[in-house]
Structures are given as C-alpha cells and as structure tokens.
C-alpha cells in the first residue's frame, strides 16, 4: 500500500518479498518495465527521467487507492525511478495482491496504463542522434481511456 520514488535500481526480488509479506493473498500480479535500447528507429544509450516529486507521489498514491477500490486489492506497491538510467535498467515496478487472479492482473494493468499518462515523469533519451525529449504516444492515451469507458475491466 505504498509508493516509492527512487534514483537507485529497483530490487524486484526484495519488492516482491515485502509485498507478499505485508499483504498475503491468493493472487499476486507484477509488472516490471526496463529501459529499451531503442526508441522507434533510434538507438538509445541512456535515459534521463525528470519528475515532479510531490505531484508524482500524490498521483501514484491516488492510483493505488483507486485500484484498491475498483479491484478489492489487499495490497499494492508502485516503485518508479528518476534520474539517469542505463539501457536494460529497471524503470518501474508495480505489484497487486488480490483474492483472485483477474483482479490482481487487471489492477496491475490499470496502474501501468494510468501511470504512463497521469504521473508527472518525462523521459529524455540520449542516443546516436543526440538528446531528445520523448513524445507522448497516442496508444498510451488510448489504453488509458479504456479504463474510463469501461471497455477494460
């Protein structure tokens, strides 16, 4: 039931162990995002994640709460990094605990889809072609909208 914003790499094993120790349940779903070595056709060598700390914390805490209410979670955790990240490093980890698999998996997906469009982080990629801010993607907005229309459950 908590959020962490951190510059250090995410210890997935430790996060998982803590989540299920604090909130045991029958169904646990997790998602981990890693830095890609490409962005469209461009190669990427490093990523910098700028964030708005106070707002990021509030948005992610509200997101965990709303996933809990919607899917009856007994536990959740969101960890998001900021600062300089090398290729293949962790960026984000979410975990959800529920009594049934559908709820845990959907909560994980809702948290990721909403986080992408609503949490104040901005990616700046460094690659062969220099540095550039990553543009937001229409596909992310579309995935986010599914949760409001009731298309996703």
């Amino acid at each position: 039931m908590s959020v962490a914003l951190q510059s250090e790499a995410i210890d997935v094993a430790a996060e998982y162990a803590k989540l299920v120790r604090d909130s045991p349940g029958a169904a646990v779903a997790t998602f981990t995002g890693y830095v890609r070595d490409h962005s469209g056709q461009q190669s990427v060598t490093e990523l910098e994640l700028e964030h708005y700390p106070e707002m990021a914390l509030k948005v992610l805490e509200d997101l965990g709460q709303s996933a809990t209410e919607r899917f009856g979670l007994s536990g959740w955790r969101i960890v998001h990094r900021f600062g300089r990240l090398a290729v293949s490093e962790t960026i984000v980890w979410v975990g959800a605990v529920a009594d049934h698999r559908g709820e845990a998996i959907s909560a994980c997906e809702l948290m990721m889809d909403t986080l992408k469009t609503d949490a104040p982080f901005w990616k700046r990629e460094q690659g062969a072609a220099g540095e550039q801010w990553v543009a937001s993607r229409d596909s992310d907005s579309a995935r986010r909208a599914r949760w409001q229309s009731g298309e996703a459950q």
Binding site: G33, H51, Y52, T117, A119, W122, R124
Partner: protein, 94 residues
Amino acid sequence: MASGSVSITIKLFSALREALGESEFQLNLTEVSEAPAQIDVAAIKKLLSQRGAEWKEALNQPNLVHALNHKVVFTDAVVSEGDELAFFPPMTGG
C-alpha cells in the same frame, strides 16, 4: 503582503523548463487586473505570455498540461494565495 494581493508558486518541467530557462518562481498577482477571486489558470497563462515570444509560444502549445496543487486542471481553475501551479508537456513515465 498587501491586503488582496495573491502570491503563487509557478513550476515548469521538461521541455518547458528547458525552453524558458526557469524551473520555479514566485508570481505576485497584484499585477493582474481582475479581482483575486476570479484569477484562473487562463489569466496566469495570459500574464506569463507577456514575458516574451518564447513564453507565449511555450504556454500556448495545444497539449500543454496545467497542474494546480499537484492535480491536473482545466484553464478555468481558480488560483488562490499560496497555490502551486505547474506547466508541462504530456507525461511520459513508466
């Protein structure tokens, strides 16, 4: 602070911060003509746009996001003394 004056914190992030060369500053709204109770985000944008061409361009891009006290709002949101108003491009975390 004089009675009726309103001071808010402005924050800029990402490409906006970079283009405008500022990340955070105080804005005293006694400069604005409207009565304080009616100062909304649109009024702040108009006020800041007077700072120069790059401000006008940056604050009037169609996908600009405004967050008042850490919550995304529309331009009709009313700002009050002590508020924190942030401007930034669409978010790209995760």
